[in-house]
Symmetry: C2
Subunit: 322 residues, 2 copies
Amino acid sequence: MVSDRTVTQIHGAALKRSLAGADLKIQRWTSLVPGERSKTLATARALYDAWIQAGADRGSVVLAFGGGVIGDVAGFAASTFLRGLSVVHVPTTVISQVDSAVGGKTGVNFEHAKNLIGTFHSPRLVIMDPDLFSTLSERDFRAGWVEAVKMGITLRRDLFERLERDTERVLVREPALMEDLVATCVQAKSEIVGRDERDEEVRAILNYGHTIGHAVEGAFRGRLRHGEAVAVGMNAAAWLGEELGVSIGDVRERQNRCLGALGLKLALPGADKGVIARNLKLDKKVRDKKIRVVLTLQIGSASVWPHISSRLLRTAVRVVTS
Amino acid sequence: MVSDRTVTQIHGAALKRSLAGADLKIQRWTSLVPGERSKTLATARALYDAWIQAGADRGSVVLAFGGGVIGDVAGFAASTFLRGLSVVHVPTTVISQVDSAVGGKTGVNFEHAKNLIGTFHSPRLVIMDPDLFSTLSERDFRAGWVEAVKMGITLRRDLFERLERDTERVLVREPALMEDLVATCVQAKSEIVGRDERDEEVRAILNYGHTIGHAVEGAFRGRLRHGEAVAVGMNAAAWLGEELGVSIGDVRERQNRCLGALGLKLALPGADKGVIARNLKLDKKVRDKKIRVVLTLQIGSASVWPHISSRLLRTAVRVVTS
């Protein structure tokens, strides 16, 4: 069992009762420091140590109970321990339920580059319960929906239009709506991952907003939620789409209005442009020194643009940091 | 390019010429300290750093040029960098050509347990040239053939009988024989790996001699060649086969005579039995606290015995350390 201190404190007792009721034995419960700073190789080493002490073997199962950070780092450690233990995800946050718990990507950060070290390791099972959202902070809750907006913008016009229309019902955490939106996102994500698990073709579309988003997130070293950074990256990507004449109609305007209604900032005046530019060079999506960026053609349809010039990208960074 | 200082010194210039002739550009050449002590997470981190500095991206290829240690650690780092770079193995030793370069297992040691951290990551290409054996030390050359004897004992009677009959021709490194034996081993290994890549069933047979072998190797902390430890482990496994009445005929006697003719020690008087016993508990093959051991029924045929008692295993350790 891998969780963080906050999740353990709020939901630990209930999960322990539930597992005991099912006669499942917890060999070891590890509670990490909450937040991005736990997503390191040092944490993976600490998990290896804990699992050795607990006598884990190839038949042991790692249960990742928490948000995206817990899923990523526990998934990475599990995928590399004894050449791969089975993983069950119980995602507790909006972002991990609508996005990261599906698809098998694991990762830790390395020298400020997000997910530079990682594997593909599909979970055996993912258990989603949107009731868990009730204990999330307003900030985490709002930032989590950015990935859902992204899926709507790039893949599912109907999903985007629901988020656009029902923003207020989302913000009051209406239970039936939560369940429905999570199911729609999981379905959209699964369909893409099923076609391209290893992120070589169509899955790349899910990186919309993430090229500049990751660079921004790295520059802020844990002071931004992932969704907050991606919202800024999506604004930059939409700007690029307009600038290059790729986007049709009011994509940027509607996207940004929806993100704004969810309470997200679209720009970060005063951010360190130099650090962001350096982080961009370490991006996994960089190939042969040309930067690939996902651009939206119209709402619900996006495509990978392989040859964005560094100059234009720097201008996009300027747009969202001024 | 990942190699070690010895291999780089002896064969580096030739390989550089060869790659330049094929118009292949080396972004970065990393030469590690030779030997098992380079098989660590710290080395993987150093490779990540080198690859970041060299500007590696998802299209980069890692060429592992060396013996089993280089293949294991370079393969591990490649499999976890940007969620997996392509790997080409150019194995330079007997053991890596007859065994480790085929099958996609990667690994680093962790707290004296061999390969505790690792992945499955198949190479795109393996280039074998037995001419490289000519520069191996006598000790490395002899120890390398242990894995070939193991494949003969457990899977291919004809292979074992050739090694038994042609030991002297092996020891003078007769070129045509080297090529032929390497090809036979690669074929035997590929066939097993093709049936069970993730080591869940039949591939486990290749662990013959490795349960106690790994524990012994860990106890000697780099002072034994892998093959030397496995030879001792094979002696212990053959003793268990006899003790349990599983082996038919003169398996142990013929196996040990062949290993002895190759110059391998079959026992290590004075080894630390306590450390070996502790290492056994960390073995990847341990499941639900029962130790699984591969036993030979007759030459060319082996099977996994799932429930060997700790007491009997300790006796086997005593047999090979007295």
